[in-house]
């Protein structure tokens, strides 16, 4: 009752909200395309998850096709490839989380220390560029650079050092390094944007005080910058944990080779090959739903841990 008095009656609240919206109507109008986009492309298709429980018939569509219960979930759980694709997905994602996640933080800290503004901008721009290159192009470049038949790297190995040529893109032991390094190269620059903007919100007075106390650059970065952007890091980490079963389909699909299939078949490429390509839409949807539920659970867990340990959380 007290709360209601403090915040007004529901009628008054609605009126206040309406007036607030009217007052900021231009801002809300700018939000509208995003809302429509989410409604059309994210929420409207959600009824498609019904496919996971249906024996899909072309002429009946999703709603009228007959129900099959949990058949496809059972099929996936008992599939020969189940543990393999789960393990591969988690390993690749975990490697990327360990190696690719800190990379933009480190680069942002380094860029923050650059004094010459012109140089900093050039570095930033150059580091953003790979983000705009599609994985198909990246893969083609990698193939040309690393081919054992006259590629740049192997020419160096054979002609300069007299070593044997190595099939970097095809041999199993090079799959993880190539996947992680190319992922870092492509995403590190773009990833710094959020951290650089977070760094700008750290109060300059803190640095001044630290310098007066005799702190060097390293100490400033360690004791001021990093703690200053910790909330941003934590939130992005929580979101990244939710995506642990997303190992980047485009990249992995392109990098799959006969020799590395045993470690490169991830959930999404499995869904593509065994589900969608073969027209087993119900099976593909069931795996997708399984993945989403598992990812959501992981994100909840990460959020909860972060809340308890660092008092930072998404909600």
């Amino acid at each position: 009752m007290t709360r209601q008095v403090a915040r007004g009656t529901p009628k008054a609240q609605t009126a206040a909200a309406r007036s607030r919206i009217l007052r900021h109507s231009a801002v809300y109008m700018m939000l509208l395309p995003a809302v429509v986009w989410y409604a059309v492309f994210c929420y409207q298709p959600m009824y498609g998850v019904l496919l996971a429980f249906k024996d899909y018939k072309f002429n009946m569509g999703i709603l009228r096709s007959p129900w099959v219960g949990l058949k496809y979930f059972r099929q996936f759980l008992f599939a020969t490839e189940f543990w393999g694709v789960i393990k591969n997905t988690v390993v690749i994602s975990a490697l990327k989380l360990v190696c690719s996640f800190p990379a933009p933080i480190i680069l942002a800290l380094l860029l923050n220390e650059v004094q010459r503004l012109k140089f900093k901008r050039v570095v930033q721009t150059v580091s953003y560029l790979p983000h705009f290159v599609s994985w198909v192009v990246v893969y083609t470049l990698l193939t040309i650079i690393f081919t054992p038949y006259g590629g740049l790297v192997n020419s160096l190995r054979t002609q300069t050092f007299g070593l044997e040529a190595v099939y970097y893109m095809g041999e199993k032991q090079y799959f993880y390094p190539m996947a992680v390094l190319s992922d870092i190269w492509k995403g590190v620059g773009w990833g710094t944007i959020v951290y650089l903007s977070a760094i700008t919100s750290v109060s300059p007075e803190l640095y001044e005080a630290a310098i007066v106390d005799g702190a060097g650059r390293m100490r400033c970065a360690w004791h001021i910058t990093l703690p200053g952007i910790r909330p941003t890091i934590s939130i992005l980490f929580i979101l990244a944990t939710g995506g642990i079963l997303n190992a980047n389909t485009d990249q992995i699909l392109l990098m799959q080779q006969p020799a590395n299939m045993s470690i490169s078949q991830i959930i999404d490429t499995y869904v593509l090959k065994i589900g969608i390509r073969e027209g087993r839409f119900g099976y593909a949807t069931a795996i997708g739903l399984f993945k989403s539920v598992f990812s959501a659970a992981l994100m909840f867990m990460a959020n909860s841990v972060s809340k308890r340990v660092g008092e930072i959380s998404i909600w």
Binding site: F58, N59, G150, R277
Partner: protein, 558 residues
């Protein structure tokens, strides 16, 4: 009396003379449909390049003038099975579909049959007889008895016909000889002094490739040569190991010494073949990139002589040289055939064909087709003699002339362009619509009609390829492929799920790159275990079913 008989015979002869063009679809009054515009999706991965103007090119205009129908053909650049699934699931269907229809448990056939059974395709049995150039598409001889019974007239179709088989030869001479094999750079063969005709077995192939590697040969840019390679995704590598098959097979079933039906992937020759390729890969005799390469990269490697032994169709290697100019600049590297290699039983490799196609291209009409009658009329016209001449040869006095035998022949200029592999000429012809509408030929009798299976073949065929065709000819087989038994198996869905996703290819190619033979064997054994037990042991049940069907016929072809 004699006069009566003679006059009767004369009358009959006149009648037959009048009826003959009718049988060929000539001389019949063609119905004009006004201006019907249709779309045809050519569902073959690799695309189909269209003319700049699909409506107003010369051939389209000529066809429209004749029957009032225009068809725009579009290609795809993705898996055929995936595309067909997406088309039917989304309901976004073209007027006409042209697709691989290999029958049995092949992915595309499963989708087409599912679509037909779920009411997505139009039945044709009541209308097809109105089109004389299409109605013989289901004749045994054009297609095989087995293909007809188990796929085109699948028992689940309940007597309906949904798929018109096309790209089907109407005579033995009209069967396309693809000239598959293994081909080596002439200069390398000469330098090694190897008698190429003596290279027959996998061991011979291995020794030959090893000699190439040890020879230290270079490509046109001074880089080391790769002893052997293939075109896209390993296309053609199998030509190096045909010796592991006893003879040509028409199914994946095998019969063991005790008379039991077994499965190809469970047998020793399959494992031997995998280990053979692993040996080639591990010793640097086979291009490590060939299993994931593209045709563009493979063409460069071929034309630059980076590959010493190239596989797949002979014409593809030679055309790569023509396309990239080394045919003229470096004639010394022109590829020449090895062998031909031999099967396990010692007989020379042939292009094995069933008497009548056992699987081919298919044409079907989705229920959203704008005008089935006009669609069929279009196919009927382009399958008539007149239609074939127009779509293949173009325009009399401009792109072709009739020779003394009354056969159409391209002009000398076009023949010269074809021989030289002139890409600009191909583009020019395509933009006029010539050879753009030529795909869906049904019961083709181009050889019988014109003395050549495609324009320019009689006068401009590549002698190297023609010579090779004689060494490794087409061989016709009679009989009923054992794969037909699948159509009466009651767990087809389980089997299709078992084979989904190219698991065999993944296992096989992973084994090629294994560190050791033991590791390769373990990979294959793991796949075999999956075959034996996967999807509630459906494969053993299928083999049991096949075994039970064996006594029902005596003309099975394995």
């Amino acid at each position: 009396m004699t006069r009566k008989i003679l006059s009767t015979l004369l009358a009959l002869a006149m009648l037959l003379t009048l009826a003959a063009p009718l049988a060929l679809g000539e001389g019949t009054e063609l119905k004009h449909y006004g201006d019907v515009q249709l779309t045809l999706l050519y569902v073959w991965n690799g695309g189909k390049i269209a003319p700049d103007d699909t409506y107003n090119n010369d051939v389209a205009k000529a066809i429209r003038e004749k029957i009032g129908v225009t068809v725009a053909i579009e290609g795809i650049m993705m898996s055929e099975t995936e595309k067909l699934n997406l088309i039917f699931a989304s309901g976004d269907m073209p007027d006409i579909l042209e697709f691989p229809f290999w029958g049995g448990s092949s992915g595309e056939s499963i989708v087409i049959k599912k679509a037909a059974n779920e009411g997505m395709l139009l039945p044709l049995e009541d209308v097809i007889d109105n089109y004389p150039n299409l109605s013989d598409a289901w004749d045994v001889g054009v297609v095989s008895q087995k293909f007809l019974e188990t796929d085109l007239n699948d028992p689940l179709f309940n007597g309906h016909k949904y798929v018109i088989p096309n790209e089907t030869p109407g005579s033995i001479q009209d069967i396309t000889h693809w000239a598959y094999g293994a081909f080596v750079r002439s200069d390398i063969a000469q330098a090694l002094g190897t008698d190429l005709s003596a290279v027959k077995t996998p061991d011979d192939v291995y020794n030959f490739l090893k000699a190439i590697k040890e020879g230290g040969f270079k490509d046109l840019n001074g880089n080391d040569v790769i002893p052997a390679s293939s075109f896209h995704n390993g296309w053609g590598v199998d030509q190096l190991y045909i010796g592991f098959e006893e003879h040509p097979y028409f199914s994946d079933y095998r019969l063991d010494a005790e008379g039991n039906v077994t499965y190809r992937f469970l047998e020793q020759p399959y494992l031997d073949q995998v280990l053979f390729v692993r040996k080639l890969v591990s010793e640097g005799l086979l291009d490590k990139e060939c299993f994931t390469t593209t045709d563009t990269l493979a063409e460069q490697k071929t034309a630059n002589g980076t590959v010493a032994v190239q596989t797949a169709q002979y014409s593809v290697s030679l055309n790569a040289m023509k396309k990239l100019g080394t045919w003229q600049t470096n004639p010394e590297i022109k590829f020449t055939p090895i062998g031909p290699l031999a099967y396990g039983d010692g007989t020379t490799k042939v292009q094995a064909e069933l008497n009548g196609r056992n699987g081919t291209h298919g044409i079907a009409f989705p229920v959203t087709n704008k005008n089935l009658e006009a669609s069929l009329a279009w196919f009927d016209f382009i399958n008539s003699k007149e239609g074939v001449i127009l779509t293949e040869y173009g325009f009399e006095g401009d792109t072709f002339y009739f020779n003394e035998a009354g056969q159409p022949r391209w002009t000398d200029e076009l023949i010269a362009g074809k021989v030289a592999g002139d890409e600009a000429q191909t583009v020019m012809l395509r933009n006029r619509g010539i050879r753009y509408y030529n795909i869906p030929l049904i019961s083709s009798e181009r050889y019988l009609w014109f003395g050549e299976t495609e324009p320019g073949n009689a006068d401009g065929a590549e002698p190297l390829i023609e010579d090779y065709k004689k060494l490794s000819p087409i061989k016709l087989y009679d009989g009923y492929p054992l794969s037909a038994v699948f159509s009466t198996f009651d767990r087809q869905d389980d089997y299709n799920a078992l084979m989904a996703g190219e698991r065999e290819r993944v296992a096989r190619e992973s084994a090629y790159f294994a560190e050791t033979d033991e590791e390769a064997i373990a990979i294959i054994e793991e796949y075999r275990e999956y075959l034996r037990t996967g999807e509630n042991a459906v494969l053993p049940a299928l083999l049991q079913h096949v075994q039970e069907q064996l006594p029902t016929r005596d003309d099975w072809l394995f």
